[in-house]
Amino acid sequence: MLRMPEPDAVVLARRVQIAEDLRAMLPADSVIADEHQRRVYESDGLTAYRQLPMIVVLPETTAQVSQVLKYCSENNVKIVPRGAGTSLSGGALPLADGVTLGLGKFKQVLDIDLPNRCAVVQPGVTNLGVTQAVQHLGFYYAPDPSSQIACTIGGNVAENSGGVHCLKYGTTTNNILGLEMVLMDGEVIRIGGKHLDAELYDLMGVICGSEGLLGVITEVTVRILPRPATARALLIGFPSNETAGDCVANIISAGIIPGGMEMMDRPAIHAAEAFVHAGYPLDVEALLIVELDGPKAEVDELIERVRVIAESAGSVSLRISNTEAERESFWAGRKAAFPAVGRISPDYYCMDGTIPRGALAKVLNRMAELSEQYGLRVANVFHAGDGNLHPLILYDANKPGELEAAEDFGADILRLCVEVGGVLTGEHGVGVEKRDLMPEMFTEDDLKHQIRVKCAFDPEQLLNPGKVFPTLHRCAEMGRMHIRAGQMPFPDLPRF
């Protein structure tokens, strides 16, 4: 298990006073100090980690967020922003000496602006809530994480969340236009608006995916898109992971970017079928769902092209949806894959590396070996279009040593992803979970440059410390220059 920074004893000793001070600036029900009620916030989607927060606050306005942050900054109190708490990497894990700042009361859709194809929403609106606010107008919000009924837009921005449609439509960062954010010292900044492109440095691009370490997001302007005219899907079975991987590569090289392209391996297919009876073939090694969306003429044509590609790649079963109900049934098993795996094992641990797709067979074979070595089963669901793997490691937390084995197995999988040219996380974030693996991918200098961004926003490092970066460097120390005069290269170059 990971270690979090040592709690600040001075702050802990002032807990009662701090709660009282916060009560003076917030509505009565917005400050939670009672242990029973704080318990609700002790964990997020990475349930193996738990920590009772010192205090929870639920402000209602940007001005209140600003006051809380200013106060905490002046009193050296740490802040952990929190949306719905569905992070799978422990991004919203509380700190013993920290205030968890929940955005649950920021629930309004402020503006729907069809001529400008955007909507302005508060950060606590759920991802699906944005689509629901505009769907009667024929529009939707494209990024669609599987957690969309629960997760918030603020959390999506903080994690740069994706979904099954992101190969074609992009992740959160490609679908937002503007932000309002409160910095740790209480300053409120506004970036972007209803227009495109940054004024100067692209701070929105940096904030997106910054995991609550740079500021508290209090408003988001999102792009909304007209709903595609049609969507149809193919459900294709393959005798091996290799042939399924070939099919994916051949679809892309034929110039087709499907709306969604998902793959499941044998254990995942069986778990899903047993759970939702989606009609998945059980005699195949890999199953591919390819969804084409867009104008009807295009979808009908591409369905045919993909069918030909799949058959020549060696598919052993192939169904094409002809109705919406049929298309949804193809997805039913994939969408229920996580809970389905939850049924066949007391606990599971979801990984999230990305690999170059060409390395898929190698990675899956190596994963099978690791599975034997650790004595733990693994089921794979895979955003095949963009190479984002979600191995689900099955374990039982009640058996001594199994959680640790699952974590070690997971770490080995992520190292493998980096080794084949991929990355540690495709959409779930680093959080606490992958924090200590960051050096597998980044050098000390790489990380220091990221921390220098952090230092520009939050020089005292009071926002969500202990996440993302394996070691905390003081910002003053980061500022030092390590260049020694006299040992310079090119001493003969003229100077002026």
Binding site: G138, P226, A297, G358, G387, G426, M441, T443, A456, M478
Partner: protein, 394 residues
């Protein structure tokens, strides 16, 4: 007098920057140097030319990624992509001719540093949306990398976004990884004739709100044409074009269609700001605005400071030339009109050196935002040697 430095690899680049840091020597960074006339004029001692950091290092069409030296000419990349029926979906524009220079000379590093994009931007994103990974040397003389070489990645801060559009003021890119996508099999353009600005924005809005996936929407006031581009698989293009014709049939204006070859030429003209190339004395602004504000902004500016211009990005981008006699190049009026019409920002892309040293070339910001940007600059380039003063006070 400046001294030219032309590193051949990243280690040499790092050592050169370390030397410049040590000497606190103001330095200008260039790729092919096609955009040197953009930004505030600066006084420098050194010119760091990255054009030797060129060449495609990895290109896997099936993985949709390409890694190359930052000094690689754009045309090298585009021709490699073309032979695999792929493209840069953000359709990078070429500033060369607008600034009075030759066409087609830019490098990919320059494209990313300026976050260039073309008419497809409102549908497919800008350069920043396709910038996946980077290796760079910061103004501290240290090599660092960010991002990765795969299309989906959230590991650590998105350093590519920070460098996209930073105009060489934070770090010098040595190697970049970009996302590439299939090129469309067919392209057609629906033209509406006799359009005023209100007609054009109404038509472009209707088109952009439709599910017909319009990938270009521009208005050219000289010819009174509204152009709507449809790309993709031939069957799909045909069906969508017919649907668009029907959708817009009730609006004013005769309709006609440009075939693939004519479309290509016309959109390149829109992309590279051809209507404003000829009269080099005109100061030219690039104005990003909420698309629905375009009619009001256009009318207010033409009635005051403007001489010519046109709309791209379905109304979200206004290329605008002003009267060369104006002391501030129209900066005050333009920014004032935007502020009272839903926001947006204006950058002076072409202007005489005197004008560029007198006005804010890049959009001014709130004090808080400017201070934050200044802290980032200070943390990446503590001695302020990289393109100092080009974008802002720092």
């Amino acid at each position: 007098m400046t001294t030219d430095l032309r590193p051949a690899d990243v280690t040499m680049l790092r050592d050169m920057v370390a030397m410049l840091v040590d000497r606190k020597a103001p330095t200008e960074i260039i790729g092919a140097g096609t955009k040197r006339a953009i930004g505030r004029p600066t006084n420098v001692e050194y010119l760091l030319d990255l054009s030797k950091l060129a060449g495609i290092h990895e290109y896997e069409p099936n993985e949709l990624v390409l890694t190359c030296g930052a000094g690689t000419p754009l045309w090298t990349i585009e021709s490699a992509l073309e032979s695999n029926n792929q493209q840069l979906a953000f359709e990078p524009m070429d500033y060369g001719p607008l600034l009075g220079g030759p066409a087609a000379r830019g490098t990919i590093g320059g494209v990313l540093s300026a976050n260039l994009s073309g008419p497809r931007r409102f549908k497919a994103g800008a350069a920043r949306d396709h910038f996946l990974g980077v290796q760079a040397v910061s103004g501290r003389g240290e090599i660092f990398k960010g991002g990765g070489k795969v299309v989906k990645n959230v590991t650590g801060y998105d350093m590519c976004k920070l460098l996209a559009g930073s105009w060489g003021t934070l770090a010098l890119m040595s190697e970049v990884t970009i996302k590439v996508l299939p090129a469309p099999e067919d392209t057609q353009t629906l033209v509406l004739h006799g359009q005023n600005v209100a007609d054009a924005v109404a038509a472009m809005t209707l088109a952009a709100q439709s599910p017909h996936e319009v990938s270009g929407a521009a208005w050219l006031p000289e010819s009174g044409e509204t152009l709507l581009r449809i790309e993709g698989f031939p069957e799909s293009v045909k069906a969508r074009l017919a649907a668009m014709q029907a959708l817009l049939a009730g609006l004013p204006g005769e309709q006609s269609i440009l075939d693939a070859a004519d479309s290509q030429a016309r959109w390149q003209m829109v992309r590279d700001v051809e209507p404003l190339q000829a009269t080099q004395e005109w100061p030219v602004w690039r104005i990003s605005l909420p698309p629905a504000s375009a009619p009001e902004v256009w009318q207010a500016l033409m009635a005051s400071v403007g001489v010519a211009g046109y709309l791209d990005w379905a109304g979200g981008l206004l290329w605008f030339a002003v009267d060369p006699g104006l002391a501030d190049g129209g900066a005050g009026t333009i920014r004032g009109v935007l502020a009272t019409n839903g926001g947006g920002h204006a950058t002076l892309i072409r202007g005489a050196a005197g004008l560029r040293s007198g006005v804010a070339v890049f959009p001014p910001m709130s004090a808080g935002l400017e201070a934050l940007q200044g802290r980032i600059k200070g943390n990446f380039d503590p001695n302020g040697i990289l393109n100092r003063g080009r974008m802002a006070g720092f």
